[in-house]
Symmetry: D2
Subunit: 437 residues, 4 copies
Amino acid sequence: MENNFFKNIQKIKFEGKESDNPLAYRYYNPDQQVMGKSMRDHFKFAMAYWHSMNDNGADPFGRITNHYPWNQETDALQQAKNRADAAFEFLQIMGFDYFCFHDIDLIAEGSSLAETEKRVAQITSYIKEKQQQTGIKVLWGTANCFSNPVYMNGAITNPDFRVASRAAAQIKIAFDASMELGAENYVFWGGREGYLSLLNTDMKRELDHLGVFFNRMVDYAKEQGFKGNFFIEPKPAEPTKHQYDFDSATVIGFLNQYGLQDHFKLNIEVNHATLAQHTFEHELQVAANAGMLGSIDANRGDNQNGWDTDQFSINLYETIEAMLVFLKSGGLQGGGINFDAKVRRNSTDLEDLFIAHIQGADTFARGLLAAEHILTNTAYTDMLQQRYQSYDGGQGKAFEKGELSIADLYKIGINQGDIPHTSGKQELYESILANSF
Amino acid sequence: MENNFFKNIQKIKFEGKESDNPLAYRYYNPDQQVMGKSMRDHFKFAMAYWHSMNDNGADPFGRITNHYPWNQETDALQQAKNRADAAFEFLQIMGFDYFCFHDIDLIAEGSSLAETEKRVAQITSYIKEKQQQTGIKVLWGTANCFSNPVYMNGAITNPDFRVASRAAAQIKIAFDASMELGAENYVFWGGREGYLSLLNTDMKRELDHLGVFFNRMVDYAKEQGFKGNFFIEPKPAEPTKHQYDFDSATVIGFLNQYGLQDHFKLNIEVNHATLAQHTFEHELQVAANAGMLGSIDANRGDNQNGWDTDQFSINLYETIEAMLVFLKSGGLQGGGINFDAKVRRNSTDLEDLFIAHIQGADTFARGLLAAEHILTNTAYTDMLQQRYQSYDGGQGKAFEKGELSIADLYKIGINQGDIPHTSGKQELYESILANSF
Amino acid sequence: MENNFFKNIQKIKFEGKESDNPLAYRYYNPDQQVMGKSMRDHFKFAMAYWHSMNDNGADPFGRITNHYPWNQETDALQQAKNRADAAFEFLQIMGFDYFCFHDIDLIAEGSSLAETEKRVAQITSYIKEKQQQTGIKVLWGTANCFSNPVYMNGAITNPDFRVASRAAAQIKIAFDASMELGAENYVFWGGREGYLSLLNTDMKRELDHLGVFFNRMVDYAKEQGFKGNFFIEPKPAEPTKHQYDFDSATVIGFLNQYGLQDHFKLNIEVNHATLAQHTFEHELQVAANAGMLGSIDANRGDNQNGWDTDQFSINLYETIEAMLVFLKSGGLQGGGINFDAKVRRNSTDLEDLFIAHIQGADTFARGLLAAEHILTNTAYTDMLQQRYQSYDGGQGKAFEKGELSIADLYKIGINQGDIPHTSGKQELYESILANSF
Amino acid sequence: MENNFFKNIQKIKFEGKESDNPLAYRYYNPDQQVMGKSMRDHFKFAMAYWHSMNDNGADPFGRITNHYPWNQETDALQQAKNRADAAFEFLQIMGFDYFCFHDIDLIAEGSSLAETEKRVAQITSYIKEKQQQTGIKVLWGTANCFSNPVYMNGAITNPDFRVASRAAAQIKIAFDASMELGAENYVFWGGREGYLSLLNTDMKRELDHLGVFFNRMVDYAKEQGFKGNFFIEPKPAEPTKHQYDFDSATVIGFLNQYGLQDHFKLNIEVNHATLAQHTFEHELQVAANAGMLGSIDANRGDNQNGWDTDQFSINLYETIEAMLVFLKSGGLQGGGINFDAKVRRNSTDLEDLFIAHIQGADTFARGLLAAEHILTNTAYTDMLQQRYQSYDGGQGKAFEKGELSIADLYKIGINQGDIPHTSGKQELYESILANSF
């Protein structure tokens, strides 16, 4: 494939950690085996269409700074084709096998939903062809039901049924397009599903609507023969004051309540986790506990700023802790690592896009290697097993199985002598982590 | 009853809003009817034994400032009796019908759990007699499984079964004492049920242990003929880095997962809500949605400080929003309003304790009156009903009942014309709130 | 003046607190005297042009929701005139005497700075005429040096001198226009004066540039015969990761360091205060301590959201505390109360704009009345005086005047007996506050 | 010196990064030269007496977990001697040359200040002898004016002069003891210098008292021939709601206002920086800009918890950024790296204390090596210089020197053509950082 938009950028190669080439991988070596699987297969790295192809640097206080050449055409379809060309170039240069998209990332919305549907069909057909030429796949698709002003009071949870039905129609279109492109999964992120003020909100009724809708989507996906997963992506707030999908625990509770637990998994975003006052690894673990660790949106937040900064990952500490959960729970169920991150508003060189993605991929690769080291070459696994061994047999095991009554527990608890302090050894665990790379 | 510890404080009376007597109620008028029920019955105000009787002003950076006269006796039982005397004096002066307690608020822990059990039995007997004399009741009891160093790695979720069984035994003792005192409810607050570091923690296994334990407690309470409710009190963190009972949604999800939903409700604390990045009213609404709005721990946090400051409520805005949820969802299921708040470390006059509780009670009373006004004398209820009316009939209702497929919704959504913007009227709702008192 | 844009809205009148008319003042009674001054003169209420006339409801996740009729003309000058017409109508309906503006609120930027200068001159002339007809004044003007993409790396603190000189030129134009309109003050808010990453930033050099620039502005204002005040408006972050004007203390330190303290005061915004982990009243007090309490941007933030939500004030507690500082320090030095607040994205009725401003004005009026009550009818002032009386004479006074050496203090400190605890009476102070309205 | 308290711990040696011995240094090699100076001299590592020798694991929700053997003696002097013995053992095992202390870390307070003074003299004499035997030095001393309940309303800023003079006397005693022990610096941390409620506080008067007091301390130190530095340690809150020494900028402003700038520098603590919504490196840079980068309290906070967790440093990212500021500004002025960090409440093995300190030292050592690499082997320095080169000559330099008027700047700014966007290259800078270790 000819390189048009990124003429000066060569395919990114693995050069090893001594390289000082900012346009090379130092740790991400796609075919390298880590715990019995290639890095490529562990991660299924994906480009986020919205950030990497559509973002223009505008923020609430400032206008567009980034005028990507592929977005300059005024005809919607031609612009969309150019953007798709750029996307596939970018993916091939990076050596990524996947991308993720919202419907209206692919092509600008029309003046009506019917017009948008037509446009989506056109660009889908164009992209499908490019997929066949390149082998590049869709990790997941989704519908953007938050940018259009019609959704200002919510989409599926809108107090006005007209808007809810409009959202449902848009989602059907996006889902159909995703299936057409062979999407391995389909995501729901409820940017406007929440509230700005509880005073004017019937939270219960809105959540019931969401539950009903997801059940109908399960029916529809079945009818259509969709083989992939549905994912929900938690976020505590922003744009709304309070989003219904606050965090992993909230979403899992919701799924169970509405009987959706067998059809949905979670897509965990780092920066959403930290905005919800959790660590990334916490959110992964909660999902894994429920058998719902589906996919990851990789980025990082800024610990001093209270909004979603969507910066590229560089933090090995949180990535290694994440990779420990990841490896111990058997990896992701259907999903992959999607770089839901954007270059800063003032990073206006085209190469910045590559440098950022490379650093993101290297962070995950280095994190995976460190996690492998911890699990295979250190005392970590034994330490953890010993910490809980009193439940591996005897009365502890009986308790765990629910066989001891409160009266039984009372007898055991009150008749034992003093219990010696057992150090939690947190600093030793942290030392193992800190010295794993 | 003779007044020994608070000789200079007379029974607190309702004097109306024009009073400038700091030792009088301006709004709390126990027998005044509000929406068909007396204030006394709406609220069931309770004193928190730990703060009002046991707190001594120490903080992580400083030693004891408050040497309450009832805590100066060195003999444990005599000290406990003095404290009980002070508690009942205080309750009678305030005109409160209830108190809440942890086992070891009542009497200092012994050197062994067996010794503690004996002490608890002694003081329980003493308090029971005082209840009979005064008619004062227990809103709820609980066990303090966080102060004793044996719980430094967790109580029921401790990695060591010896500690878990010790905690179970302590809880049985506290529960038995609560029943003996006629407690209307029993609370679980998991101060050490969480983790300091995810690195050394098997979260899933620990949560399973908690689920098993609560199920055994349900069995035990049934055997003992307990007629009250079990409550869980959410808190996101502190003392642990992450508490398992993070917020209402997390706890409800946990209860459903372990089959406990019919036996438990929630005790919502204001300051815990705000530490979890929610409003108080949000947490109440989430509990009410699940039919689990059990009880309230009334206090307030400091928006600039990131820990539990447990100050007395003065904020009408959050209280009115809370009272709206409270009234609309039919009040509390079994619980009441417990003043889980403490005077500041440097509030060392005995009268400070009264001034603080009076202000707390007045805040709830004034909030209730304002909420009644909003619901009965303003456009609020109609506005809210109209906002959702598209779901009260026709296709909206069919959707709500789950009768519309995605294909149906698509047809409706794509064929309608432009949908006009409908203002959310947030500023009008807020204006109604701001002018309700 | 004919009412074109707000045909259905009558002039807002004071109707008293029993009114249930959402389009009337309940507390703001312009000519009512409070502590010897009319409410009108205490407050000098101002409309913020950018929010009330230019805001369109767009947010980082969604497009425009509010299409104000005065902004629909495509010709820049005609649109600007329409907007000015709407602004003056709005001000007259509200009964406000002032407005505040950024240069490019008045008229859209041109394609070059020279073109912008021409446009600003045209609209200034138009507005000046309207001022003469109505008596409406400018509280302050400012330059928007953050929206134009040229400022993406900073304005005056840009690493590229070309941009810094461009910013200086734009500020001169805005300042000249402000003088032309008789602005009583001129504000600097450094939206892009800060950094996104310290890694690529020479903070010291950037701050030096800012200090030099402000000194040259002082010279220029003197040359031009400007009689008003310069204000700096602190904000901790957003849009940059870290703004140089973090909070009041930081700005005051900066002003002193660069010799600017006699020429600048502060414009304190509520939501900026709370984002900086301070209360509003704290920031006012810090400014008042330095004799720099210049002006107020009135709004409120959301305690659960970590960005500038710019909601209209409704919170009496923070407003009363603010009014206490305000009254005790003799009011604002040159400035007034500017409603730097916007209706929510989904508040799309024109009347919402009025309801919101009315509530804002009423909050300040009610707060002022409450503060007057506290200062004149309660024990507050005496309590505070007594708290510090040990410094009003004797050794305490000598210490305060610097007359006691460490050796003197040592002698006094070590030879006195035990010092009794003195309660801080915080709950009593809070009770006075809570019962002042 | 005989090893009594830590019999099983050998002197900690540098074993290099491949070592898996948790009781060895992997990066801290005291005599290794980095940019012309040994690691030992760069860092001057110090043990914090209070955490490492006195901390007992108690927290606001739980009692003592750590019963260090050296603190078990009930006679105050003997206990203090044992603790000093342990401290010197610990320092020698670690290979640290320094320690830091509060007066009452060394020996328990007496029942009066006079008694405390006597005790401090006794233990000072004992410690001085140990210093002579070992060559171990004092990095800084300080007075604990926050634990004693007498300080509940403030120490030097107390509304009661009796308390202020008591604090002054205590500080004199602590300062004298510090001089006796050859302390290279003396620190002020105002744990109770701030307010719990602004309502009952005269902030201006309290700050004036603090300013007066520091000036008298400057006089006193001069009289006594003190050759070291005075440091102030900023912290935004905790234990008070608001501390006067909020952050570096606030403290520097205060020092300038009260004429103290030539006598004081700053002691920056990592966790205090992050609680104040700054990064560690930001606070260092602010201090360095003012020529006041005196010393460092090394630890880390928890990004999810809103209080001072004082964990040991493991985060290379913040440490490298800190070391870049450190190296570029010429290191610390008089101070060193004090490990103001504590093992977790449940880290109850004696070896945990060593593992934690080793990891802390290694983090700084590895960070220093990475910073050296960035400064000497990467494009970093050139990139940064080029970013600001427009100010190195021509009009930019003239502006920087204050030689251009607003009229000059206007002419330059308006007459230049379009200014091209210059990427800030943040992702490239971050990539250099991320690949520096």
